[in-house]
């Protein structure tokens, strides 16, 4: 009886799955391993476990624009893909050889179905597994720490009670400083940004490269931009940030909103424009920062409106920002990396937060060397080997020139 039911189930699965691709999907519960499928829960399996009908409409659009070639055929529907991916997950779980998390959220399933290639999916599952383990361990540690701190606090209370009535200074005791709450620090930071919005120098993030990126890169773009916004608040003279070509229906915009949830609030101090920057600013003032051009930013221009391309290129180094600046006939410049640094290995297209930090620093102190020293990772620079006379000489020469140019900056 058991076996018969099972074969019947298999057949229905195969038929619905392969013969008529639009048939409603009957996936099995993700939390159950194969061995636990028994006749008793067949009904439950078939009735309850229909895949969610409301697969986000975005998913289809993503596939169209996706640059990666999936190993799953494009003729399959999203539901079928999801079923396949779930079957794969179950296989790994049953084998216990590939490490997989105990459960996945809806978003994670979508992400998994979007990944090209079996090994990529395996890697992602392992990544999720490690995250899960990490969070479990963190929780354990947190509990232990809380126990310790509570014990300390109790001890302190006992001590305070036993002490004499004389005023004593220290932690948990009296202090001569006013307490600055987080809220207050936040207000001061915001005050600076408001000032920048009234009188400060604008800067643009160009969100026009949605098609050129895959989901992973768009995600990274979101986190980098979030870091930029945070960094901006901490400087004495912040920028007035604009997002241009920021269309909310696009995935890159959505992922940015996900990492900065307050971005769409009306009182948030970043301006969002769905239009191009040429309609917001005059062309003469605009300067596109792109690593592929030839002209360098010799001195930081306090009147210019710098544009940073919202493009994270983890896979290739195509000059998309250059192409855009060329098409719109905007002046393009690159950071003077070669003038001040001995570049070792690594690409010269930096992350967005690095570029933004360099600009902030250059704006505040007028020194490229200082800015580069702070924001460019030292692993990318050439270190003079011990006893390498040529390299040391070169370094000395470099130092001399850079000091000279910094001095000249200050004179101006």
């Amino acid at each position: 009886m058991k076996a018969v039911l099972r074969t019947a189930l298999t057949r229905t699965f195969m038929r619905s799955y392969f013969d008529c691709p639009r048939a409603p999907c009957t996936a099995f519960p993700s939390t159950r391993p194969f061995s636990s499928i028994s006749p008793a829960n067949v009904r439950q399996l078939v009735t309850c476990y229909q895949a969610p009908r409301s697969v986000p409409s975005l998913l289809n659009a993503r596939y169209k624009n996706s640059w990666t070639q999936s190993d799953l055929a494009s003729t399959l529907t999203e539901e079928e893909k999801m079923t396949l991916v779930k079957a794969e997950y179950e296989l790994y779980r049953a084998e216990e050889e590939t490490q997989v998390p105990s459960s996945l959220t809806e978003n994670e399933w979508e992400e998994l179905a979007r990944l090209p290639g079996v090994s990529r999916r395996k890697k992602y599952l392992r990544f999720l597994y490690l995250n899960e383990m990490k969070s479990i361990n963190d929780k354990k540690k947190k509990l232990e720490r809380r126990k310790i701190s509570e014990a300390k606090y109790q001890q302190l209370q006992v001590e305070l009670k036993s002490e004499s009535a004389h005023i004593s200074y220290g932690l948990w005791r009296n202090s001569m400083f006013i307490k600055w709450s987080d809220q207050r620090v936040n207000t001061v930071d915001s005050h600076r940004v408001v000032q920048a919005k009234l009188f400060g120098q604008p800067i643009i993030f160009d969100y026009d490269f949605d098609e050129k990126m895959v989901a992973r890169e768009k995600k990274v773009l979101g986190t980098q931009v979030a870091e930029c916004i945070g960094m901006n608040r901490q400087y004495l003279d912040p920028f007035y940030i604009h997002f241009c070509n920021f269309r909310r229906e696009e995935e890159s915009a959505q992922l940015t909103i996900k990492s900065v949830p307050t971005l769409t609030n009306e009182d948030f101090l970043v301006d969002l424009h769905p239009d191009n920057f040429l309609e917001v600013f005059p062309r003469e003032k605009l300067v596109y920062l792109t690593p592929h051009c030839r002209e360098e930013v010799r001195e930081f221009d306090h009147d210019a409106v710098y544009i940073i391309g919202g493009l994270v290129d983890l896979r290739s180094d195509e000059p998309f920002t250059l192409a855009k600046a060329k098409r719109q006939r905007i002046k393009m410049q690159k950071l003077p990396l070669d003038r001040y640094l001995d570049w070792g290995t690594g690409r010269k297209s930096l992350t967005l937060n690095q570029i933004f930090g360099i600009l902030l620093e250059a704006k505040q102190h007028g020194s490229w060397t200082k800015a580069f020293a702070k924001y460019i990772p030292p692993r990318k620079l050439l270190k003079p080997q011990y006893g390498d006379a040529e390299a040391i000489k070169k370094k000395m020469r470099q130092k001399h020139t850079s000091r000279y140019s910094v001095e000249s900056l200050f004179k101006d």
Binding site: F34, S35, E97
Partner: protein, 775 residues
């Protein structure tokens, strides 16, 4: 060493043994033929192999440490069945470590998998049946994985029952499971069932190459020829590199055939290799060479001359594999859309620039040679102190470009050149650049445009015989085509069209390749085959193998004695020639990416043997310049020619300190040489050309200015540019030399004193003029 090498060539056939000998030899520090670069690469390769092996060992060591069954390690290593008592003991042990029985069963199967022990795994399944415990799904899936990977024999019934059980239990089969199931099924006689699974995989997505590999092997083993050939084609289309099992299965299949059928089958296999441009590795080559021997062919491992394409074993010449006009036009169209325009013309260029270039092509195409200006200009190795000076560098780079252009024009008088430059090159040394303008079409792109795709498109537009002069490997452009078939055609065309420059000083053009590296039948008889194989020294998949398997039809091949004689001759010739070693060194020093240079492993005795035989005399006279020159590939050499060269070089040596004399002599020589001696004395002409460039530069440095005649490129005009108004001399030699080339030697010797006087006078005059101008 040479003798040893011959022995290796002749006798050792088994791939592994051959490789081992080679590695041993290199470890002893022997120079390994055919080129020192190859031996160096091999050494590197062996080191990298050991490093990878060590890492793998470390990994397995760690895995072993954390294994639950550490104490039963020896049991899992031995490949025989276990009695049920032993299994019980192991189960008891496993239960202590894991939470429930199912997990314990899966763990034991995992252990079997990590030691890849199929026999043990199937015995474990039998034991589970014995105790009537149901194996877990994971356990069965793991068993399928062991089945598809291991090479041992296994009980067919176990595999089939497991397959049935698994297909019953798992309702939706995912890609990895299907792949394993096919792998396991192909080990049984019911492998035909895997066709259904293949259809399912095709519906799900892209079929991995191992599926085709397994099915092809099964098809050949069961003698299902029709399917086997189809599957083999599909396997080759996946660009897989593993063919060892397939070739073995094919060889086994061939033993069952009649002799004539066997031959046609082998030829069919070779034709597939040719069609899909597959390069076998050493492991899969062994069985194939054995098979070829069985069929009655004489098989030799050999190399092929990089430029002439002559096989060093049988002397036959390799051929281009043909590209049909239709595929060529489709390649051109695809290239334009996918590489040059890339969906957004602004990435590479701009619409105006593209229109301009398109107009140039429609008006002036077809060209015979397209030059990558920047690439050629930058590939020169001058003294290091010169590089620091920007001006001198620019001048030298322009001179490089000019010398290459002149080399091409002297080789092909009717050549029509297009040099693709970037805008900043217009500021380079003006006289040289204007000379370039006279000789060729120069097209300037902006500094931000990518010039490679323009060059390639111009070449594709000009037709299949157009040459590209660049040392770029052009891999990124091939990958942008995205279509595997187009990439294959592109690679074929690139081998045919590309001509690299040598990384030497002064810069030289490498001769064009005359064949493509694919398995091919002989041009002469059509029965012998040459099959390129990867000997493990290739670093990237885009590299072309340098080692070949020469399979000759026995009835037509030379007798063995004859072979030995020719080989010993060749080796003695090489012993004498120093040019081999020198050129090898040149290559090894140039750590560049060019296809040509990689293949220029020196020792091209078939062509250059004669040229180098003239060398010892020259060396004895301490002609330092000649040493360099001897490395040049020389097309046709004879006695008079080499003697003429000797005299020339001596004179160059003598005259070197007096730059002014040098100049004037050079002028006369060039005027005589380029116009009249073009065909008779190729290298004499080259001599002129080189010193001519030198002279031209010094002329410029001293006089400061001279007239540059722009306009149409004619042979007479070409010589005129060298003459300042004062230095111009009547060109009386050409008619004489035309009649009798031998006269040139005598005449020049006679003329030298006069020349000295003339040149002195001219120099003095010049100096006076300059002084006067200064005052």
């Amino acid at each position: 060493m040479r003798v040893f090498w011959c022995k290796v060539y002749g006798k050792v056939f088994n791939g592994n043994l051959f490789h081992g000998v080679k590695l041993n030899a290199t470890n002893f520090g022997w120079k390994f033929s055919p080129g020192s670069t190859i031996s160096a690469q091999n050494r590197l390769f062996s080191y990298s192999c050991t490093a990878a092996q060590k890492a793998r060992d470390r990994e397995t060591e760690i895995l072993r440490k954390y294994s639950h069954f550490l104490q039963y390690e020896s049991v899992f290593q031995e490949k025989h069945e276990l009695p049920s008592e032993k299994w019980e003991e192991i189960m008891q042990h496993g239960l202590q470590k894991s939470s429930n029985t199912e997990q314990c069963i899966t763990n034991i199967m995992k252990e079997c998998r990590s030691s890849n022990n199929l026999k043990l795994a199937s015995s474990f399944l039998l034991y589970l049946k014995e105790i009537s415990h149901e194996p877990t799904t994971g356990c069965l899936a793991l068993f399928m994985d062991i089945c598809s990977q291991s090479q041992e024999e296994c009980d067919e019934a176990t595999i089939l029952s497991t397959y049935d059980e698994l297909s019953k239990r798992v309702p939706v089969q995912s890609m990895p499971l299907l792949v394993r199931m096919i792998g396991a099924l192909c080990r049984t006689s019911h492998w035909q069932q895997s066709h259904q699974l293949l259809q399912t995989i095709k519906k799900i997505g892209i079929v991995p190459s191992e599926v085709y590999e397994n099915m092809t092997v099964a098809a050949f083993c069961s003698g299902d020829t029709k399917n086997a050939w189809q599957l083999l084609c599909q396997l080759m289309n996946t660009q897989s590199k593993k063919f060892q099992r397939v070739v073995l299965a094919f060889a086994n299949y061939c033993t069952t055939l009649e002799k004539e059928d066997r031959k046609t089958a082998v030829i069919r296999f070779l034709q597939l290799l040719h069609k899909w441009q597959v390069f076998l590795d050493l492991e899969s080559l062994g069985p194939l060479s054995d098979l070829l021997k069985e069929v009655g062919w004489d098989v030799t491992m050999t190399t092929v001359n990089t430029y002439s394409g002559r096989c060093r074993s049988c002397g036959n010449i390799m051929d281009f594999s043909p590209i049909s006009p239709d595929t060529f036009t489709s390649l051109r169209k695809a290239f334009l859309e996918k590489v040059l325009k890339r969906g957004d013309i602004y990435v590479n260029s701009s619409p105006e620039e593209w229109q301009h270039f398109d107009r140039l092509l429609t008006v002036h195409a077809p060209f015979t040679h397209i030059l990558d200006g920047l690439n050629i200009a930058y590939r020169s190795s001058g003294p290091a102190h010169q590089r620091s000076k920007m001006l001198q560098q620019n001048r030298r780079m322009a001179a490089n470009l000019l010398s290459i252009v002149e080399q091409i024009i002297s080789d092909h008088p009717s050549a029509k050149l297009l040099i693709v430059c970037r805008a900043h090159m217009a500021k380079w040394h003006l006289p040289t650049m204007s000379r370039l303008h006279d000789l060729a079409h120069c097209h300037y792109l902006t500094d931000l445009s990518g010039d490679d795709s323009f060059i390639l498109y111009a070449a594709l537009y000009s037709g299949i015989d157009c040459k590209i002069i660049t040392s770029d490997q052009l891999r990124n452009h091939a990958s942008r085509l995205q279509d595997a078939e187009l990439q294959r055609v592109f690679k074929l065309w690139q081998q045919r069209a590309q001509q690299a420059t040598k990384f030497a000083h002064p810069i030289q053009l490498q001769p064009p390749r005359k064949f493509t590296t694919t398995s091919q039948p002989c041009r002469s008889d059509g029965l012998s085959w040459h099959i390129p194989y990867n000997d493990g020294s290739l670093e990237t998949s885009y590299d072309l193998p340098r080692t070949w398997l020469c399979a000759r039809h026995v009835s037509r091949s030379k007798s063995l004695d004859e072979l030995h004689v020719s080989r010993s001759k060749a080796s003695s010739a090489r012993h004498v020639s120093r040019s081999d070693d020198l050129s090898e060194r040149h290559v090894s020093r140039s750590d560049d990416l060019s296809v040509g240079a990689r293949h220029a492993t020196g020792g091209d005795m078939d062509e250059y043997g004669l040229a180098s035989s003239g060398l010892p005399h020259l060396n004895s006279r301490n002609c330092s310049i000649m040493e360099d020159e001897a490395n040049e590939p020389i097309a046709h050499v004879d006695e008079k020619y080499s003697s003429a060269r000797r005299v020339q070089s001596n004179r160059v040596l003598k005259e070197k300190p007096h730059s002014v004399f040098d100049k004037s002599i050079v002028e006369r020589k060039t005027s005589a040489g380029i116009t009249s001696l073009k065909d008779q004395f190729p290298v004499v002409k080259k001599n002129y050309r080189k010193t001519g460039v030198k002279g031209e530069n010094s002329l410029d440095a001293e006089t400061g200015s001279y007239v540059v005649k722009k306009g149409s490129r004619k042979t007479n005009d070409k010589t005129d540019y060298l003459h300042d108004g004062d230095l111009k001399q009547p060109n009386t030699q050409s008619s004489d030399t035309k009649k009798n080339p031998r006269n040139i030697k005598k005449k020049k010797e006679k003329e030298t004193p006069d020349e000295f006087d003339d040149a002195k006078k001219a120099a003095l005059k010049n100096k006076l003029n300059n002084l006067l101008r200064g005052l």
